[in-house]
């Protein structure tokens, strides 16, 4: 297991390097010269040249990358052109909010998706199964902005039981206020993942239930509950964790629309604004942070994999 962990950790290094190169290139691949864009159409060529030299844009790309990567490693993500503040604390604050939203969506998706998937497999070809799969299909087909707006219309404006936007009331609030604010965005964001998880869990469970070792467990006198929740689920978990890992990535990246609908002060919203304002340091920092969390989530998924499936651990 330790060897596996070390091997897997080592594999993240080239991936992180690749990501950093891509993020760095964003600045240069985007049309237009950053200095030109920053100073506007009326700037004199001298001013542009001076800014280019200030920003280091006149040096060779490799040198620029080296200097940039060196600063990143020291935690210096540059200054936001728009806010004129250090980028890192800003994106970390926003990233925390996005992480809260993602975690909420994930909890919803795991509990409902996996739970309903297992029950649908256990009650295969019953009314519960077909209803659950129909609802899951509906959940899959509904775009986030529609579910979000429908939720606001029903629960915030109609029934007035849940707040429609933000993370806290205007006067500030505690943890429970946060939870109240989190319910709708989390469900909105997690609905599609819950639906995917439900369908995948169901099919994984149905496949595992057919296996010979399930018959062995039954022949041993294991109860149906033990068969489903111990013998089958642990095997189906291999599929479920794979899907879950992909869903976390999707939730992190897909939170932009949900954040916009519910005015959730997350990284997604900040990134949209930064892109519009061509605030490159912020965009780079944000993309880098999301990409890195993606890499580490995948690492975590692989480790969970190995923990569930000994065939991975020992090969």
């Amino acid at each position: 297991m330790r060897n596996y962990l070390l091997k897997r950790l080592a594999q993240t290094i080239p991936v992180l390097f690749g990501i950093s190169v891509l993020v760095f290139s964003m600045l240069h691949l985007a049309p237009g010269d950053p200095a030109d864009l920053l100073l506007g159409p009326d700037a004199t060529p001298e001013a542009v040249a001076e800014l280019r030299s200030d920003m280091g844009l006149d040096r060779p790309l490799v040198v620029q990358y080296g200097a940039w990567a060196g600063r990143i490693l020291q935690g210096d993500f540059g200054r936001s052109v728009v806010l004129n503040r250090a980028v890192l604390p800003e994106i970390l604050k926003r990233f925390k909010n996005t992480a809260i939203l993602t975690a909420g969506a994930l909890v919803f998706a795991v509990i409902f998706g996996i739970g309903i998937g297992i029950l649908a497999a256990v009650f295969h070809q019953t009314a519960f199964d077909s209803t659950a799969m129909l609802v899951a299909l509906a959940g899959l087909s509904m775009p986030t902005f529609f579910t979000g707006i429908a939720g606001i219309l029903i629960f915030a404006m109609g029934m007035q039981v849940l707040p429609s936007s933000g993370m806290y009331p205007a006067r500030g609030g505690d943890f429970f206020d946060l939870l109240r604010h989190l319910v709708m965005p989390a469900i909105t964001l997690g609905a599609v993942s819950a639906a995917i998880l439900a369908r995948m869990t169901r099919s994984a469970m149905l496949e595992v239930i057919q296996q010979d070792f399930i018959r062995t467990a039954r022949a041993k006198g294991v109860s149906e509950r033990g068969v489903v929740w111990v013998h089958a689920l642990r095997n189906a978990a291999i599929t479920i964790v794979t899907v879950l890992g992909m869903q976390i990535g999707y939730l992190l990246g897909g939170s932009v629309i949900t954040e916009a609908v519910f005015s959730w002060p997350g990284l997604g919203q900040m990134m949209v604004r930064a892109i519009q304002a061509r605030d490159y340091p912020t965009v780079q920092g944000g993309v880098l942070l999301i990409a890195m969390s993606f890499v580490f989530i995948n690492l975590a998924v692989d480790l969970i994999y190995a923990w569930i499936d000994p065939r991975i651990r020992y090969s």
């Binding site: 296996q211 010979d212 070792f213 022949a219 041993k220 013998h231 642990r234 569930i308 065939r311 020992y314």
Partner: protein, 346 residues
């Protein structure tokens, strides 16, 4: 409990009561499967009985209903299948078919256990083999985890696995096919069952390993006094282990006899065909006689005798009605064939 009885061979089995009460009595058992094309009767009125410590061999081609019979006894037939009729009485537990799910769970793995054909897929890949053996003990003997794991190691040792204390914490994929089947046997024997259903326990193994596994089963059976229902299509295995044989074909028992009688003088043309199709030393050089044709589709059985289409001795009565399983005069053997029936239909 048997300490007193074993050193005194003068006490006959009937005096101790083991002989008089059959361990297992299956009567007229029918098991059906609902398919899109119709209801398929995989087991069609099978009767058999076993006494304690006895080895009953069940032979037949694939699809003859051998495995389904065993799964029916264990109550493991699942939808779309169901046991549609008959009776299965087990020792002093009475009728098994009317038992509730939880009552059957107490019997499974404790009184009756089963070994399956495929050791590669019959063990759960994500649990340690020790845990899987220990599970039976925790379920039926209320052992703690530590006790059960310790006992699992002892069981592994008993089935001939070297360094059992290391092996308990290994996973199935780390073991060879033969070792996995030993683990399956250890699991099945964990609670010292009265009846072991062995469904083709050696079919998937190498020939050398097959012999070892059979020896192991004989040894454990003698030590524990378990009765074994040995399901196989390998008559050699039957000759070596069984006392009684039931020959199954298309869901019914065609012939039932003591193993010696059956091999010396097979009565049913199907049994004769099976015996002729095994290679023997003295028939070297001559072609093996395979039974022509294939097992009939259970949805479209021929009228009359279901072996009629493939039978070299088929004659007029065979198409008229299905022969009953007829007891032969002056013998315990039974055969389902008009050739051996006193009054075949005209």
């Amino acid at each position: 409990m048997t300490v007193l009885a074993t050193p005194q061979p003068t006490i006959s089995a009937s005096e101790t009561g083991t002989e008089t009460v059959p361990l297992l009595e299956v009567e007229n058992l029918s098991t059906e499967f609902a398919t899109h094309a119709g209801t398929l009767r995989a087991v069609d009125g099978v009767s058999m009985s076993m006494t304690a410590g006895e080895v009953l061999g069940i032979v037949g081609e694939s699809g003859s209903g051998k495995s389904v019979t065993a799964l029916s006894i264990l109550g493991l037939i699942r939808a779309p299948g169901r046991v549609s009729g008959g009776s299965i009485r087990f020792q002093n537990h009475g009728e098994l078919l009317t038992k509730s799910a939880s009552e059957m769970r107490k019997i499974r793995g404790d009184m009756i256990s089963m070994i399956f054909q495929e050791p590669m897929t019959s063990l759960n890949p994500v649990f340690r083999v020790g845990w899987q053996i220990a599970e039976a003990l925790r379920l039926h003997r209320n052992m703690s985890k530590a006790e059960a794991t310790e006992r699992a190691a002892e069981l592994l040792e008993r089935v001939g696995i070297a360094s059992p204390r290391k092996r308990v914490s290994e996973f199935p994929h780390q073991l060879s096919g033969g070792m996995r089947q030993r683990v399956m046997i250890a699991m099945a024997m964990a609670c010292a069952p009265k009846l072991l259903l062995a469904d083709e326990p050696t079919t998937a193994l190498d020939v050398t390993v097959q012999a070892q596994i059979l020896d192991l089963m004989v040894q454990l059976k003698e030590e524990d006094g378990a009765a074994v229902m040995l399901i196989t299509h390998d008559l050699g295995v039957i000759a070596e282990m069984a006392q009684k044989v039931a020959v199954m074909y298309a869901g019914v028992v065609m012939e039932e006899a003591d193993v010696g009688e059956l091999f010396d003088e097979p009565l049913h043309p199907y049994t004769q065909g099976l015996l002729n199709s095994i290679p023997r030393g003295h028939s070297r050089g001559s072609a093996l006689k395979a039974i022509p044709g294939i097992v009939p589709n259970l949805l479209h059985l021929p009228t009359g005798c279901r072996f009629r289409d493939r039978c070299p001795a088929a004659h007029a009565p065979c198409g008229k009605a299905e022969p009953p399983l007829q007891r032969m005069p002056d013998s315990a053997r039974k055969v389902r064939c008009w050739l051996h029936h006193p009054e075949p239909p005209k």
